[in-house]
Symmetry: C2
Subunit: 331 residues, 2 copies
């Protein structure tokens, strides 16, 4: 199949490599000319996935229209804040019959739309599929066993994505709850920041496990309010991805949280970084969504106060940890 991946960060690059190893013809659009150059000449993404040789059949392009032309399956993996703009610029060349697999995780700041909603708005009639689950890119490109979900209201499109991405070491389960799968992937980044803050403050595993648990509960509450199935959050795109991001050592969002927990300022933490920590933006969007839907999200609120309102990490986490005694499940 002719597959195009739009966005050559670590995750897009790993997905392009996976598709190529599965025998597909793969074009990968990269924003940065040096990334196009290094993938085509060295078969390595020296900027975002250094040290991992890529399938030599992945062809990188700097022109997004040329990249999507004639594609039978298009995967979107840009940072969330530029997804709309990039789809717009590619829309003239994008074959309407190609399912759009959305690998970008986030909530658009201005509109509070999920990434599949952004895609549907820009490409009318598009069939969208969300792909999510516990999947560090460096492990996927290293052929470490990984399991994800591919969710679509079209079971046919979900099946196409499942067959395209599946390999002996990459298992894709189909799912029908697009909203739940996407929200899990987006919100877990905020929880990763929260867990990182706790870790940076020197709190132990007990506290971090409690945070993860209460975090999943508030993710599920927001999901239910937005029409997702609560059970989705107990699956790979909810719990699975949350566990990975909050405990695996490689997560960008958790690293940002750790620095904040140690007392560094957000602007100082972010200025050292080349890659996007999606959880920082998603924290704001999630808080607005929660307010709109009337859902209580104390961990999301806490992260926002530390990120944007100058509350010290220590006092914010202390406040979160000492809410009054009560039953675990409110009756």
């Amino acid at each position: 199949m002719r597959c195009t991946v739009v966005g050559a960060g670590a995750w897009g690059t790993a997905l392009a490599d996976l598709l190529a190893r599965n025998g597909h013809e793969v074009r990968l659009w990269a924003y940065e000319p040096d990334v196009v150059e290094s993938i085509n000449s060295k078969h390595e993404n020296l900027r975002f996935l250094r040290g991992h040789p890529l399938s030599s059949s992945v062809e990188a392009l700097g022109d997004v229209n040329r990249a999507v032309e004639g594609a039978e399956l298009v995967t979107l993996s840009t940072p969330s804040h530029v997804l709309r703009r990039i789809i717009k610029s590619a829309s003239g060349s994008l074959p309407r019959s190609a399912p759009l697999v959305v690998a970008t995780k986030g909530i658009e700041k201005e509109t509070l739309c999920l990434m599949t909603e952004v895609a549907e708005q820009e490409i009318s009639g598009a069939t969208v599929v969300a792909i999510s689950g516990p999947s560090f890119a460096v492990e996927v490109v290293s052929c470490q066993p990984t399991a994800v979900v591919v969710a679509s209201t079209s079971s046919e499109a979900a099946g196409v994505a499942q067959r395209a991405f599946s390999s002996p070491y990459f298992r894709s389960y189909t799912h029908s709850d697009v909203i739940g799968v996407e929200l899990g992937g987006a919100l877990k980044n905020v929880m990763a920041v929260a867990t990182g803050i706790a870790q940076g403050l020197g709190l132990g595993f007990n506290a971090q496990a409690a945070l993860v648990t209460r975090g999943l509960a508030e993710m599920t509450r927001l999901g239910a309010a937005l029409g997702a199935e609560p059970g989705t959050f107990a699956g790979l795109a909810g719990l699975g991805d949350l566990v990975l991001t909050c405990t695996g050592s490689l997560s960008r969002n958790r690293t940002v949280g750790i620095e904040l927990g140690k007392g560094r300022k957000l602007e100082d933490v972010l200025k050292d970084r080349e890659t996007v920590a999606e959880g920082v933006v998603t924290a704001q969007s999630a808080r607005e969504l929660a307010a709109r839907e009337g859902v209580e999200m104390p961990i999301v609120d806490t992260v926002n106060r530390v990120l944007f309102e100058g509350q010290s990490a220590r006092s914010a986490i202390a406040a979160l940890m000492t809410r009054e005694l009560r039953a675990e499940v409110d009756k």
Copy 2:
């Protein structure tokens, strides 16, 4: 309140210390004379919680009948395979009005009873409370923030336990689903062995996060069959404890799994250990419960095959990871 803790392993010792810091009068029964001696003379459990000074008001005793006499709250924290025998031997002195807080996690091998069921059978009319949640003993004794649940069909008894154990750094949430809370605590040890095996084999975070997710799904299935509320498994005693045990660096059960994953034999792994890895015994009991209830538990089966049937860790995990593609949620 006069509180007795029966069993001076790491967890019982940490709970005794917590109760003492909360101002209660605490007696702690220890099986080993050297533990009685070290707690009373050095205020430290040199065998099971070395390096952590205990409240000097914790009194250790070697006679379980004297330990429980006159107690107003009794906490049981022995290894699971000796709980019945120890309750039997103490039952003559145990005040019938004292709630029994069960901190032991496991499933009795011969009867497939949960630990609260064992207590109820041996002390007729007893009011039992299960305490569980993500709580490494060394963190509790170090006053690291921790959150657990205390579950009882008697909301009064749950409230007594909640007030006795709660402190600014130890939060107890009340719960009514005793079976769910206990099963979560018991089964997570099997999942920790499974995750350890995967880690020992060199699998990455993606695979371990997928295992944790699928593990919680099968724990929840068994719980539902046994009358637990599925939602309990999404809480501190399910997900929370599972995350802790499968990802925190301190878990005994995971350590056993890692050694097995590296190719060592079970008998060699266990002979080096002073403490009990409950997951090894619970794996068998869980498999029998699942068979009795007609519940599919592929991860529990896999752990049993590695532990007791000589299957290599590599082929067992490979088989688990390559089950046929399908939807995440069976419809």
